[in-house]
């Protein structure tokens, strides 16, 4: 292999790794705040990527109906529980947050899609659509059992994968989609060519990482989320609601997943069932940081991307097998260096 091919592969690998890194970041975030190993996050990626592709064809993605139904159910549950606790005053606020807001997104999608708005508007609509799904999914699937064991939450995450993938097939069909890259601009730097799309992915990763850093370090809400991760009981007794932390975490997870979807569908063909493997690769990256460390999760995820690109070049049929076999050395490393369970640990 000459250096040119090497550098091309490396660039591709880093670009796809950066997408996994975005997801790995939120995996760690969601796990830390809610103890949910949210393997079905990849479904947000496909939902957003395929919605974006749908907008490009001038069609409103049918997934808006899923959002509409979920918003109705969530609102009904919230209003009933508020009334039961005698908190009637909160009802208008609840309706605004849980119903009006998502329905506004649904309306905007239905209205704007046939008008073929500019690409950035299409991307924004797709991201808004998927982001609104995040807290609704948390509210319905996880919140009622927020204190269950890690294993129970994990099984629910897997079941969600089944459900969301089924809806993916229902709303997007079995066909794959790919769109033109958002930036079709290549910059030559000596022998290497920097692809605009790859640069965009890396820039997004950098910006979102910085934004997350600022959020967690300098805002009280961010600190509250970190506090929930560090000490659940401590967080509760200063008044941080675990459900609130969960909803914020899932909103961020869906938002970042959606952005990853917009980026991914510009460089690879997405199918309704592509999400799970993408999500699992992000988990792989996150595991490199033992589900704890953000920098290691990013590094691990980029490593997964590079490994994937190179094995696709050498043994293309075995790509997935190679990538997931990489779990073995990672687990070996963890089992040698990470201390086995301290007493009384869950699971």
């Amino acid at each position: 292999m000459d250096t040119q091919i090497f550098s091309i592969l490396l660039e591709d690998g880093i670009a796809s790794g950066a997408i996994y890194a975005l997801l790995a970041l939120t995996m760690v975030l969601v796990f830390a705040t809610t103890r949910i190993l949210f393997v079905s996050q990849g479904e947000f990626v496909t939902f957003s990527g395929l919605s974006f592709a749908s907008f490009q064809l001038g069609i409103a993605p049918q997934i808006v109906w899923l959002l509409a139904v979920l918003a109705l159910v969530v609102t009904a549950l919230e209003v009933v529980s508020a009334l039961r606790l005698g908190q009637g005053k909160r009802v208008p606020w609840l309706v605004a947050i849980h119903l009006a807001l998502p329905l506004a997104v649904v309306g905007a999608c239905l209205w704007l899609a046939p008008l073929k708005p500019p690409v950035l508007v299409q991307a924004a609509l797709s991201v808004a659509l998927v982001t609104a799904l995040g807290p609704a999914v948390y509210r319905l699937a996880f919140e009622p059992v927020a204190n269950a064991s890690v294993r129970t939450l994990f099984v629910i995450a897997i079941a969600l994968h089944f459900i969301l993938q089924g809806f993916g097939l229902l709303f997007f069909g079995a066909e794959g989609y790919r769109v033109d890259p958002l930036i079709d601009l290549d910059v030559s730097l000596g022998a290497t060519v920097l692809k605009g799309q790859a640069m965009l992915v890396l820039a997004t990763l950098a910006v979102l990482t910085a934004a997350l850093y600022v959020f967690f370090e300098y805002t009280l809400l961010g600190k509250a989320l970190r506090a929930t991760a560090i000490n659940r009981i401590g967080a509760r007794i200063v008044g941080i609601k675990t459900p609130l932390a969960g909803r914020i975490a899932f909103t961020m997870s869906a938002f970042i997943g959606a952005i990853a979807g917009i980026l991914a569908v510009g460089s690879t063909t997405l199918y309704y069932d592509s999400g799970f493997l993408i999500g699992l690769k992000a988990v792989l990256g996150a595991i490199c940081g033992a589900m704890l460390s953000y920098p290691l999760a990013i590094a691990g995820a980029i490593g997964v991307g590079i490994l994937e690109t190179f094995s696709a070049f050498w043994v293309s049929a075995y790509t997935e097998a190679v990538v997931f076999s990489a779990l073995i050395p990672v687990l070996l490393w963890l089992s040698l260096y990470a201390m086995p369970s301290e007493e009384g640990q869950e699971l």
């Binding site: 000490n231 401590g234 509760r236």
Partner: protein, 243 residues
């Protein structure tokens, strides 16, 4: 009006009851101590009052039954717990820990953060010195100060303290009790749980003895402190203290 009152409070783990019908009352602005041996159910009782454990019976907070109120909403209403294990945010700075103590007030839209913080620093100048240190690096006494400081950040109406002297050196124990006694001036009501029976009764107005999940004795703190049975049970005696 009573700040906090329980009637027939019961708590069970699994199928075994740990508390069997507790009646306790804390008057507004009063300090009430609850003493008892390890395993009597003291911590369980505070967890239940905070809403961290399911309980039976009645809990009234300023006259209102708070059975259906979440932990977080109890905090927002001014009920505050300093737990036995402190439950600090170890990997965060002292400043962040204190800031988060104000979280429920911040959610409600209160913006008097600075004044509250100044008040806490006045009580615990030590915390100001350690402001940017991680909570996990603090000594035992400093941790207890931080836990108390974090609780005060929420401007509580009722403060529940679970063994504040636990694991502290004698000098620090005295300091902590001085601070608690000093809180009386702010008008906060305090429910204090202690094994250090003597010190706890010294600063209290009223006292209860919890044994085997039931209140076995109660009375004005001064009376309890002189009660021979308390003396026997909590400080040891050669001949059996059987009734």
């Amino acid at each position: 009006m009573l700040a906090l009152e329980t009637r027939g409070l019961t708590v069970g783990y699994g199928k075994a009851n740990v508390l069997h019908g507790i009646d306790v009352a804390v008057g507004e602005g009063a300090i009430v101590s609850l003493i008892g041996p390890n395993g009597a159910g003291k911590t369980t009782m505070l967890m239940a009052l905070m809403g961290l454990l399911k309980s039976g019976g009645e809990v009234r907070y300023f006259g209102e039954i708070i059975r259906n109120v979440d932990v977080e909403d109890r905090v927002a209403r001014g009920l505050c717990l300093v737990p036995e294990r402190r439950e600090l945010f170890g990997d965060m700075t002292v400043g962040d820990n204190l800031a988060l103590g104000r979280f429920s007030g911040w959610l409600k839209g209160d913006r008097d953060f600075k004044a509250t913080l100044d008040d806490v620093f006045q009580r615990f100048p030590r915390l100001l010195e350690r402001l940017s240190k991680n909570a996990s690096t603090l000594s035992g006494g400093e941790r207890q100060m931080l836990a108390l400081g974090r609780a005060l950040m929420s401007r509580p109406k009722v403060l529940m303290l679970d063994e504040p002297s636990l694991g502290l050196a004698p000098l620090m124990v005295r300091e902590i009790f001085r601070i608690i006694a000093d809180l009386r001036k702010t008008g906060v009501s305090i429910l204090l749980i202690e094994q250090n029976a003597r010190a706890a009764l010294e600063i209290a107005d009223y006292g209860y003895v919890l044994e085997n999940g039931a209140i076995t004795l109660e009375g004005p703190a001064q009376e309890l402190a002189g009660n021979p049975r308390i003396v026997d049970t909590y400080l040891g005696r050669r001949q059996s203290a059987a009734e």
